[in-house]
Assembly symmetry: D3
Homo-oligomer: 220 residues x 6
């Protein structure tokens, strides 16, 4: 029987959820675990403040506790909302996409740069990094100045990402780039080519770690 | 066409190579990348000293440079010999199993413990950890007092691993355990059950990261 | 007009709230700010898990936003629930009792020890400390193995605190002790005498900082 | 009987002493401890070098040992001269204004900036910060290029403080500002309004901590 | 003309000064700089407290300023009293024996252990180490419980040093040992043989660095 | 009998070896140890890549093992190739010139700057520094953009060194400068005069430490 990895988009923007499913398609192997991307429909359209984080945490807790089917969970927001909470509520593995992105980046480079959505996000990211004692590995975290909705719709998103990525690479000294939002995945390959540096999409990073964990649990 | 991930056992112990292939079988998906485990036949039977590290580095460099087929490389020894060297010689991703194990462990717990083979290994591991500024995340690194060959053949290996794992968990405060040698994979599941903590096999950790990286390169 | 410092007990245990008011009485000066201790009546009886933290955060946010009278807020739980959240929602100063206790302790000693309620609390405290990059100043954090309710009622609470305090002092090398729960204040003076070390009550530490801040705002 | 907190200005500039008394007036509560600000009359007119630090240390030691009346001491110079020395000589609490300012700032922001008097001061401050392992929390320390005497008399002092504060805020990323000299207190409120960031006067920060400590000692 | 390196024993114990001269004899080369060991005759018999440190600092300043002959200075006490002060007063190199011992130890091992005289010394050493951000390299610092005078006269000094050294090596994991007092030099060779670890005498370490610095200044 | 300190230039550029011998002449004392500078004749002309490091390590191991005469060894390349390896193979002291330069610099200043040959070298240096947990003491590491051969022959080498040194001093805040290559020694004195900061030649720093170590071994 196929194992299910529940990938939770904790905002109500289904465009982001669809983008995640698309981003994970290359890792959807026959006989492999199934990545089921779901939307927290009552959540705000984007996690853009600490208030948004606080709003979605009980929803995530409820979803994880009610879900007896999934072999593992992925919380699909670069603020990793509710990560400690959900881990307290289940013995099954719970992966945060920011945590996995950072750890995956460190297997590709020694100093990562983050492309964030808003200046406000950077403050949350710094607390997140310090809590994991990984702040010294961060060369820079620079915002595009776009909301989650604008990331989805804005025609200039990619060119702004390239511009920000170049500053992270050339001024801050990053040798690997992290996309600091679940909604930027479709630009990953093009950005990698443009910057000539590895670019990590956080949902893909978490999906990779979940894939390994779940595959080994069921078969060995 | 199937992508190939070359998994190099840098010691000449084919038992270890076979153990790696077995450990990676659950991640060998139809249409997924192929994990090809190879042995450095002229290498020493185990990497048990800095001299062994130094001996195999030029062999690894030669192998990586001659191999135009692989999409990615995994260096399958917990000392990560030649990692910086091989990365200098190719643009394709090169994964070290120690580096990947540590980073994967930090997605499962906040403080890892390492089960090593010899007291001498611990000294090398500490330099490796410090170089990556991840020494503060290591709760303990304790040797079994067995060589690579003994790990393979010794009947007491598993019971010694359990005993060491309990000390790492109960005295050192580890909440995730890393197998500090490529030759311990077959004990992973049983040890996880015995210690009731996640146990990370380094080759599987590196294979997971390589799988994600290579899948995304070819398909997105 | 007298300034008001709202001291919020984010659990529903009114015994803890009363204990806070008693602990702050010596700092209730004529013409000074008034410490108004209030209870989050719909909150759980103690903050003993990440789920409890997550439950009270929206309640704290609502209270802070609705309160247009207070000159400053104190969140009266050693997990500092909702601290970043409330700071985002108001320009008035918000003090967390854990944060203030730690910073106050460092004005009295170089290495502090924390007496916690439950083993589970220590895990939350460590994340809290790391986030502030103050983990290297913590000599130890040891649980009594008592819930908030038991702290209030248990006859042995004080003797267990002395015992734990001695281990923090003699084995861990603490030269200042922090009471890791808002409900231990009435034992502070006796513990200080017993251990012959400064003992910091977190609510008193936060009240002191709030007193200074508010006094200077209104009068200078 | 009223407790006395002896606030020692370790330079001979009585203008600085008077400024301290004025700065502490809002915390002089009826029935509260009395802040008695005194001048080290034989000290140099400002602590502007390591030689000045060394000169005043024995004077501070003598004063503290001879004073059997005070409940606590505050050393009123941002180099915290003689802090370890005086703590060795008395069991009563001794507060350093730099130490208290830094710890108080960290209850208001995550990264502080310091406005210093001379370039030479910055070097002393860095040693002071490192000794407390709080150097990573300092976003910047920038000198005005004014002596203690000039701070007192110079008409441009405030405009230079605003200019320096803006650089600390906008270029260095400080989210709380510390006045790095006991003689800048009268500019605190105006600077806070101008920079729209909390501004900490070190003497007020130490007086606050002393007030809390002494109030709790006498009444609980 | 021969260069002079002034080695200042900042206590008044001439036995210590003579021991220094004896310890430096092997580095007294024909045509090399001359190590002139002098005693601060008005100083206390040992630097055993912060008060002692504070007492000798002005004496050291006076000596350094009056001495126009020496090419370099060594402050011969493991608390490095007056090091920042003397460096402020002269452009000639000033070496602290604790600083030099620590740095020299790190060229021989990765984790040093210190044999101190009194428990009180350890507190001073920790501040000294933190100020230099070298505290993570210290595996342990353990006192003999002997004053400077007792170190000189006690028949059991060596056996206590061996005992303490074994704890630093076997329990704390030190792989190099530092003698934490200028008066232990005559036991260095025997202790090295007994512990089978490099043992660093601080005066010899500072003399070595001064020798190199002065030789290169005069001849290149 | 005279002790011999074998100083190994691990590249085949005899100009560098001769420069070393010249740099060490001022420390060649009558009756002191003899610095014997030798060339690894089969090595590449410069250590300019990780591949070069890997190439010379077995040669260094062979040389050290075959040499039963030397009292100590110095590995004369700023990448410290084979340092852990050679230390594993002999009980005699082995000094790395980068390690000794860094430690010596920290006895002269609190933040060092490194003048490197190539951008590529900086990456190796950072790994080297992190491994020793001394990365926080490095204010900057800036390349000249010259190979080892060009350093030897280029007429502009000195003016480029001055220019780079000024940036390390004025922009990065270095208060001591390290020459990041064994082939720059002849410019040390002039650079020191030009920058008005201590300048450390790594071979001289290692020779000084070796001189002290060997002198004390033979005579005490």
């Amino acid at each position: 029987m196929t194992s299910i990895i529940r990938v939770i988009n904790p905002n109500s923007n289904t465009g982001v959820t669809n983008g995640m499913a698309e981003a994970l398609a290359p890792m959807q192997f026959p006989n492999g675990p199934y990545f089921d991307c779901v939307t927290l429909t009552k959540a705000p359209p984007g996690i853009e403040s600490q208030a948004d984080v606080s709003t979605v945490e009980p929803m995530l807790a409820e979803l994880v506790q009610a879900d007896t089917e999934a072999a593992a969970f992925i919380i699909g927001c670069y603020s990793d909302p509710g990560l400690a909470l959900c881990r307290e509520l289940t013995d099954r593995p719970v992966f945060g996409i920011a945590e996995c992105a950072i750890l995956t980046a460190l297997a590709r480079g020694s100093a990562f740069g983050v492309i964030s959505i808003l200046a406000n996000s950077v403050v949350r990211h710094m607390r997140h990094l310090r809590e994991r004692l990984l702040h010294l590995h961060c060369a820079g975290d620079r915002p595009l100045g776009l909301t989650v909705a604008q990331i989805e719709s804005d025609n200039d998103t990619f060119s702004k990402m390239v511009e920000t990525g170049k500053v992270l690479r050339d001024e801050d000294g990053s040798n690997v780039i992290i996309l600091g939002c679940a909604g930027m995945a479709r630009h990953r390959t093009a950005l990698e080519k443009s910057l000539k540096l590895p670019v990590i999409d956080p949902t893909q990073a978490a999906a990779t770690m979940a894939l390994g964990t779940v595959s080994l649990e069921i078969k060995t």
